[in-house]
Every structure is written in C-alpha cells, then in structure tokens.
Symmetry: D2
Subunit: 348 residues, 4 copies
C-alpha cells in the first residue's frame, strides 16, 4: 500500500447543532452511574450559561481536535458559551491550526503496524493518521510567524493571537480557517492559553527560530500566561470551569483562584466545575483527582461540581449539545477578554 | 480535631538501597502480564545503565515526590543513573523544593471530608496532606529568588539552577536540602526541565514577581527549554528515556528527536524507552499512548521499549532497585550536562 | 434522616423508543476513539438484526437493571431483537424479578456514609439504594417457588421460566410484571441463562429451600445450562453476541462454539460480536480480553467484531437505540427458543 | 513458524518463599497511594493469620494460575494460610488441573496476529499461549471422571474432590500433581468452590457426559455450593476474605453472611477483607465495588478492610510473601473443612 491509500478517509467534526439531545439527557437524570453524572454535568454547564455574570473557562487535554471535536469547540466560541480556553499545545497548534492551514486528519487503524507507517512518514494517534510532511509545514509556519515578530517575551496567548492574525491576513486560508478555534477566538477576542507552549508543533517552529536568531529572539513566557489568566479571574469574580481531560490545563485553571489570593485579591472559588475524563483518582495524579479534593485547596466550590467518567468523543458532544439546544447562551454577551487584557488598568 | 492532629504522621521516602529485589524481579521474567512487563522494563533500564554512551532522561508526572519516591530519584542522581530530568512543576517545586525548605508531607485519609480540611488550610492529594501555610512560604521563596535575578528570560532549567544555588547558599537548609532533587542536581550538574514551569508553586511566586515588577522582569521561556534539551540530544546521540506517568514531560522528551531533525541534525530515535503508567491508550491521549505508536512518529525505537501498567509507588522502587542492585551504574560517568549546555559550541 | 428520606427518588428506565439517535451515531462514524467504535458497534448490531438467520445472544454483567437499563432490554425482547440472554444473577433476580414484584430502586449518593445505611437496612450499589427488607421478600419468593416444584435438577433457564410463570399466575403483579425481563421472556419464549444461579438473591431462596428439604430437593444444574445453550448454537448456525460487561456471561456464550465442537458438530464461530465494557485487557482477565484474542480460541470471527470502551448506561441506550430506529428488527421472527429446547429431537 | 516455535518458553511460578519482602513492605507503610494500600493489605492479611479463630477464604478471578501465581496459592495451602477457596473455573480446571495433568503454559506475545495462532490451534490469554490440543485432553479427562461417578447432583466442591482423587490415584501424574491446587487441597481437606462450574473446561467435559448419558446423569448443583459454603460460615464465626479480582467469587463469598442470616443463624460480618484488583467502582459493577459499599449490605466489617488497586501478578506475591515471612501461619492449625462438611451435624 502507498501513502495515499492510508490517507483517504478524513475525520469529520460532529455538528452538535443538528442533534437535539435534550430529551435523552433529561431522561438520564433518573438513571445511575455515568448517565446520571452526564445529566448533572450537562445541567451544571447549562447553569454556567444562564449565569450572565459567569465567565466560562474551557480546558482541553487529550487529542480532541484530531478526533472530531473541533466543531463542538467552535460552536461554543461562536455562541459565547466559552470566554477563555486553556489547552495543551497539540490541540491548538498541531491539530486546530494545522487544519486551519488546510490539512486534514485521517481515519486509521489502531492495530496497524507502526513500522510501515514510519516508513511512509505517517504519524499515528491511536486510530487516526497524520501526514508528517504536512505537520512539518505547520512547524515551519510557526517559525515564520516568530521570525516576523518583534523580538521580546510573549505570553502563549499573545503568540496565538498572532497565529489568528496570520490566518486572517492570508486569503489562501479563507475556507480552511473558518472553522478554526484559533481563528474564531481571534475574531471573537477569546483568549487561548497554552501553558506548555513549546510542547507541540509550536515548539519545533520556535526552536528553529531561536536557533537561527541567537541573542535577540522571540520567547514565550509561561509566567506571563499565568499572570494574564489570573487577571481574568480578578476581573470576573464568578467563574465556571469545563474541563475535558486533565493535565496542565486542569491544574492551571484551578490555580488562578490561589494566584489571585497571592496577589491579595479576595476572589471566590470557581462556582461551577465539571470534568470529563477517564483518568482515575487512585494513582494520586492531578488528572484524575476529584473536584472535592480541589475544594480542600480552596480552588473549587463543591455546590455545583461533577466528574463525568467517560471518553470525551462520546460525552462532550452530548453535554455541550444539551446546553446548546437549551438555548441559554442566547442571552450571553461577547466578553472579548483579549480586549480586556490589553486595555484594563491592572497593575503588573 | 485541630490542624496538628491531621498533620502528624509524615511521609517517609523509600530507600531502595536497602532492598535487593534482583532475585524477585528476575523470577518475574517467567510470569505473565505486568510482572513480566516489570521485569522487561527493569532489564531495559539496566541496559541503559550499562550502555556508557547512553544519556538517560527521567520524566516525572503525577504526585511522586509527595508519595515517598524522592529517595528513589535522589539515589539515581547520586549514582549517575540519570543524566537529565523533565518534570511537572508540582514534583520539583511544590514537593521537592518544598521539602528542601524543611517542610514535610503527611499521611492522610482519602475519605476525609474536604470541607473540614479547607477550614484548617490543609491541602489534600488523595491520601496525603500538606500544610497550606507552608506551601505559601514555598511560593514566596520562589518570588524572592525571582526578585534577586537579572531581569531577562530564563529557561526553567536555568531558574531551577538558581533554586539549587539558593539552597546551597542558605545554611539553614543544610539538613533538609541534602536529599533534595533540586539540590543534588545542582551539585551534580544534572539539568531539570519543567516545560510548564508556571503551572505550580513556582507560578505563584513568579506571578507575584511580575505583578510587582511591571516592564522589566524575569520571564520563563519555554521555547528555550525545548532548545536546550534538544541540544542535549544533538550532543548525545544514544539516549534512553525512563518515564513515570505521561503528560507534558513524556511528550517533551519524545519530541526532541524530531526537534533535532528540524534543526537538520541527523539523530537516531531514542534507543531505549520505558514507561510506568496506569493510563490507557483507548482515549487516544498522549499519556497512555503506546511506545509503538511513538515509533510511527520517529521518536522511539521499538527494539527496547516497554510499557509497565502499574501505579508508580509500587513499580518504580522495584524497577530502579533492580538496576541499582545490579550495580551497572558504577561504571557510568558524571555527565554534568548543565556544564555542557553552558559551554559547548552550539549555534543558537 | 429516616429510612424513607433515603428511599425517595426512584430510578426510572430510559425509553430508547423516544430518542432517534441514528443521525448522531451516523456522524460518529467519522470521528475517532470511542465515538467511532460506538458507531461501528451500532452498525454491527444492526447487521445482526438484518441477518434473518442470525440468532442474537445478549449477555448482561454489572448492575445494569438497577441503573435504568431494564427498558432497553425489554424493548429488545418485545421486538425480537434478542433471541437468548445470558446474565449474572443480580440483573435477573435481585433487580429485574425484584422490580417485577413491585419493588423499586432509588437514586442515592456514592459518598454517603455506609454505616448509616447499614443501620437503616439500606443496601448501596455505588449511587443507588435498595430497601434490604424488600430484597428479603425477593429471596423468600424464590424459596417459595422452589418449594412448589418437583424435586429434581433444573437448569437455571428452567427455573427462570418458573419465575415467569409465577409472575403470570399472580395477578397482584399485573402492573409491575409488564416491563419485566423475566416476564417478557416467559411470554416470548426467550431463554435466560444464569450460569452462576446461586450467586444472587436466588441463592438465598434456594439455600433456604435445600436447608429445609434435606435429601430430595430442587437443584440447579449448571452443566445442563451449558448443554442447553450449546444446543441453541447447534440449531442456529449463524449467531451474533452482544455483550454488556464481561464476567461469566461473556465466557459462557463464547464457549458454546467449542462445546458444539466437543459434541462433534461442525458449527461456525460467532459471526458478529460486540462488547461494551470499561475493563481493560492489560491484567489478562477475561472481562477485558479483546475479541481478537477470542478468535485465537476459535470462538469469534473477526470480520464483524468491535469493542466499545464506555460505561454501559451511556453507550447501551445509544447503540440499541440506533438499531431500533433503523427498524431492521421489524422483519425478524419470534424465535421462541424455549419452545425449541423443549421439543426438538436432539440427543442428550 | 511452526507450532513448536510458539510453545517454547514455559511460564514458571514465582516462589515467594525465596524473597523476604517484609522490610520493603514495611517501608511502604509511610509512602502514599497503592504502596501504602499494599502495606495495609499485607498487615491485615497477617492479622488474619495471627487470629487463630479466623477461617481464611481466598477468592480467585482472572487468569492467575496461567500467569505464574500457582506457587503462591499452593504455598498458602501447604502452610494453612487459607482454609477455603472460591474461584472461577478457568483457574481451577483449565489452568491448575491442566498443569496437574502435565501440561504447561507458554510465554507469548500480546501483539501476535491471532489468525496465525488460530491456524495452529494455539489459544492466547493476553501474553500467554496454550496448546489447544492439550486443553481438549483436559476437557475429556473431566468427562471421564463424570462418567465414573454415581449419577446424582454434586456440588462443585464435591466434584473437585473427585478431580483430586483422580490425580492421587494415577501415578503418571506423580510429578505434575505435586504443585497443584486441586491436589494439595485434596490432601489438606481444603474445600474449593467454583460457583459457575460449567463455565470452563469442566463444562466441556460435563456437556459431553450429559449428552451421552441422557436421563440419569451427573449434575452440578450450584445451590448446594452455596449451602455448603454457608455452613462453613456458620461453623466459623470469625472469617477473613482475601480476594484476587472480583466477579462471581467475590460476590459469592461476601453473600454467605447474609445466607447464614436467612437460615436464622446470627453470624458476624467478615472481620477482615482485602481485595487486589484493577477494576474501578465508577461503573457500579460488583468487581470494583468498594468494601465500604459491601458494609452497607452487612457483609463486611469496615475496621479491617483494604482495597489494593494493582495488577495481581505484582501485588499478590508481595502481599502473601509478607505474611509468609512474618511466619504467623506457623501457629495455625489445619482446619480440614472438607472433613467438617462431610461429618458435622448440620441440618440440611
């Protein structure tokens, strides 16, 4: 088989707008186990939407965008259902920005011999294939963007805005950028934070940039990320967090409550908190730690919290679809927190 | 109950030097399932030790240091069994540096009511307690270190060297620093990378620093981290990776093979690779992805790779203990990669 | 709080007939991970329905009926979507027959103190409560049925037919029996096998019966179960298995292919096989073993097999709902395998 | 490759007597997560041994014997560390009795193509191979034993005694029977219950027997199993349960407390209870349900209970090895519960 035989069937993103799951999720309220948890998670997410004061943080960890969940996120952005995003680099750069450049993910086989794939320069994510040559183009594009910027420290958020601008200014991406998280957030002023920004395709581009620009260079300041997102908490007392997977994004967004306190602001814990994950708590790692545990740290209020133990491709479209078809988002305002961050009078 | 009643029984770090597990692990070779995997992982780790050309990378994710595994890591450092470390911030700052400052972790109860803990300012990690007031001192110490530095971008590695230096220069930590990863790495020239450095206690200190030093300030450049660790790969063609948990450290250390290629160096894949984890591959996330999958990306050679599906507190002491009691490390040299990074003639 | 305060909110069974999930499940075909697996599982289940020659076996393990999945199973029975059932005792006796007697399951709290529940004679299944006094009535009813029967060995299937008859003959259960698996299978001639029949509420009733009837007594012959279900395979060459959870039912239904061979019949492997489970294969246990592994044993053909790694309360209504709304079951005949087993000319 | 190339490296059973793990397990007491749980489980198991009044029940689920754990179980039997066993059929018949007949398990590869194995009549259990022809001999031997017995109902325990007797009376098994669970239990009067006895190789033999002996035949009465094991509880008030995996054996042994109550005996809950498993509680299934949950059912006292979340091949040798090297078993008596069951004056 040749390379093109492996890269044939494209991943398509599910469109939650088409499926009104509300009656089914409502019925799950009176079942048990994860169906009931899914119902409660969906209800809490809907409460976040109805609470006009609530700034909603979405965290993304795991290979979500390559798995067909990009549309779910983009619909949330378009409809003001999410006000800030914290993500791993893979979702934002290797997968979303990659698709915005016109590339695609392909349906693959988890039992395929990896030596064959290696030979053909096809990268595998469980049951999904990526054309490695295209991924190198993505890396290089990041390098080009870095080369074009003023040589100074940036937060990942600031750099990702530049990525959105790049898409906006290059008409060749007109079709492919439309359903991009990076692009839509750029348009809607929604901040995206990637606290481990070099840990992805962006890292390759930036390494290339710094290697070739010794001395004066673009750098990515992760402390600045943390300061910026903390400022959001300071300006939006009421917050809700919707976490897909765990990892750095989960920890980062929970920590901002404490960070605000460290800066001597008196902010409440996150009022709403839900997490979709398959990780379990018994190895003591953060990814599977319960939201009750987080409350001991003063990060999350326990009145409206729910863990949903399910793989995200199944649970996320249902949970977000529930809130979407409830329509509560319609009364929400564009928060444009990117604008707030660049203009407000906050010290620091 | 008062706070002191909860913070009574300290976590003690296991001392692998005392338990010769070699015969038992050898017997596991002829069993099945994870016992056999543990044996093969231990044998591969021992091969890394015997291979004098091999630079060994250790990655740490999950709450390992608070769980009693600090001694295992420190023994590896002291005996040249590991040449570079990539970790989450929690392990290095909140837990190791925290203990180096003289604080301790306490045995707790996973079923304890978290509202009670919150009231007493006790933070819980599954079955372990932390005095939150002491954690604030740790945050502040990081802030003080930042305040004392020249205002410029640092890699996390460079900043962590400053943390080691701080411990070295303050004799009040003489006793508590001795078994610290940060301190021993400082002494032995072993680089520590924390690619999401603001995502931990360090973040609180740095936010405080930046908030109070607008304009000119210390920043943490995660791209620089990636460049530095890539340089290590360029200088040490033969590499082995020993991963505890997944997350950013796993991805980061695997990616350096590709990064070196992006810089047009022809480097081999990681020759040896083992991971201890409970994550599974079926949600497609990186943490549980197989090392065979990594080989499709050109990151890991599949000749000597092994996944060990076990919680780390049980498997890690046995696996490292095996290599320790085999004694192969005795012929290894101090690599002092920190020195190499600051002196070698590499462009960039 | 009193007992009645805990036993207030009843579990209600989801009605898949109300929710047309076909378009959403179709969309999942082009996603990744478990969404794609769910789609393929649903398609294979639909193929079983369309294949008029195919006898469909359903296996049930885990607390499914108490969790709100009874309606899903009953709808399958009513619509000839399933031709035989193999189950744990808990689902059939403690949960289904229990509800047929007019008792209910209640929504509970997984974090409730169990000592309090013990005091009140409330039994807990994760987040679900049962009135223990009512469970004792269920045990006794089984004992009464045993007392009324001729003293000889029965297969579990034969005994469960007697349970259905008991419900049929006692009009006080007119309302509660209507949506019962035991009752509907009785009416429709669908065999139910519980290979570990004493391992549930039935066991308590039978122990009571045997204790009080030393010598001549009703006994439950598990070998006879195996012989009977093997006869079904011999009479229905084309078979499909739909497994919820693993355990004894999974093993039992897979083994009948081999059993038929042992009796020197030449039967094909199961043509279709799907399993919904959260168990994983890495501990080598049967529950999480892959269907590919089963093919090495000659039990399952690998052309149409799919594992779906999801908790059942979420995945089962969607998967069965897909086939239901596709409507393929409409051309299926009542197989009435109970009648076949009592009349056909098979040796043994 | 030919069949013999796959069936080359035999599984060897670990000998816990050789490895004194006491100091290492003691050190785990002051760690966290599963290491600490393993320590507590080992301490509770040691308490069971020291408590001379305590009858110890061992339950076995999962492929344990084929995985190299037979020696651990046999050492427990030889040293009076266990007084009764409840198991799945696979462990006792397909694996232990199979090896007693002189056959072996082989080290295999979990990534091997199953179609190749199918062709060669090699059965796979994750990473372990079995010669299917030898398994057919095991089935037939069971059939022969059934043919030789008086035609009446037997408990699985009674049938398994006949299997032990068969081994004892046939000198050709002199070498291979020595380390057999079935044989050693026969010698030591330790009852073995397999509540789903037809769900294994025994089932094939019995189906063959019943098919060829219509009318008068050997039957296996699972209710009788339950009555017999309940009698043990009635005669031994103080009991401890040591569970490897979950499934039917876990449920069965917990249920005997309730069964004794149903017979109007006033017996205490199981005083000690530990379980080694990787199953989790979040799907509500019995296998992963906590021992705290079991206490709501009145089955298990919560003073001395511990879940250990680990794969058994790693945790079981360490836990049992701990108690073995502590030596407390030395003061235990042979309980010979098989003798008790056949002689005591109990009604029923």
């Amino acid at each position: 088989m040749e390379k093109k035989d492996f890269l044939k069937d494209t991943i398509e993103h599910i469109d939650i707008k088409k499926y009104n799951v509300v009656p089914m999720i409502d019925a799950m309220k009176d079942m048990a186990f994860q169906a009931r948890n899914l119902n409660r998670g969906a209800e809490i997410f809907n409460m976040m939407q109805k609470d006009k004061e609530c700034a909603v943080f979405l965290t993304l960890a795991g290979s979500l965008i390559s798995a067909g969940l990009k549309g779910v996120v983009v619909d949330m952005i378009r409809n003001n259902m999410v006000d800030a995003i914290v993500s791993t680099g893979a979702n934002i750069v290797d997968q979303d920005f990659f698709e915005a450049l016109g590339f695609r993910h392909y349906k693959g086989d988890p039992f395929q011999n990896d030596a064959v794939l290696r030979e053909l320069a096809i990268d595998r994510i469980y049951d999904t294939y990526i054309n490695e040559d295209e991924l190198r183009v993505c890396d290089e594009t990041i390098g080009d963007i870095a080369n074009s910027l003023e040589k100074q420290p940036y937060s990942s958020r600031e750099f990702i805005i530049e990525m959105g601008k790049y898409l906006d200014e290059n008409d060749q991406y007109k079709a492919s950028r439309e359903d991009s998280i990076v692009y839509q957030c750029y348009k809607k002023g929604v901040p995206i934070f990637v606290p481990a920004f070099s840990d992805c395709s962006a890292g390759f581009g930036l390494v290339h940039h710094q290697w070739n620009n010794p001395g004066k260079q673009v750098s990515i300041d992760s402390a600045r990320d943390f300061l910026e997102i903390t400022k959001i908490k300071i300006h939006n007392k009421v917050t809700g967090i919707f976490m897909i997977g765990g990892g750095v994004p989960k920890n980062f967004v929970q920590d901002i409550v404490v960070a605000a306190e460290v800066l001597e602001f008196d902010v409440p814990m996150h009022k709403y908190a839900i997490q979709i994950t398959v990780a379990d708590e018994r190895d003591g790692a953060l990814s599977g730690s319960t939201l009750k545990e987080a409350s001991s740290w003063g990060k999350v209020d326990t009145t409206y919290e729910q863990m949903i133990y399910s793989e995200a491709t199944i649970a996320m479209p249902m949970l977000v679809g529930y809130a979407y078809h409830k329509g509560s988002y319609k009364e929400r305002m564009e928060r444009r927190l990117n604008d707030v961050l660049s203009t407000v009078e906050v010290k620091g």
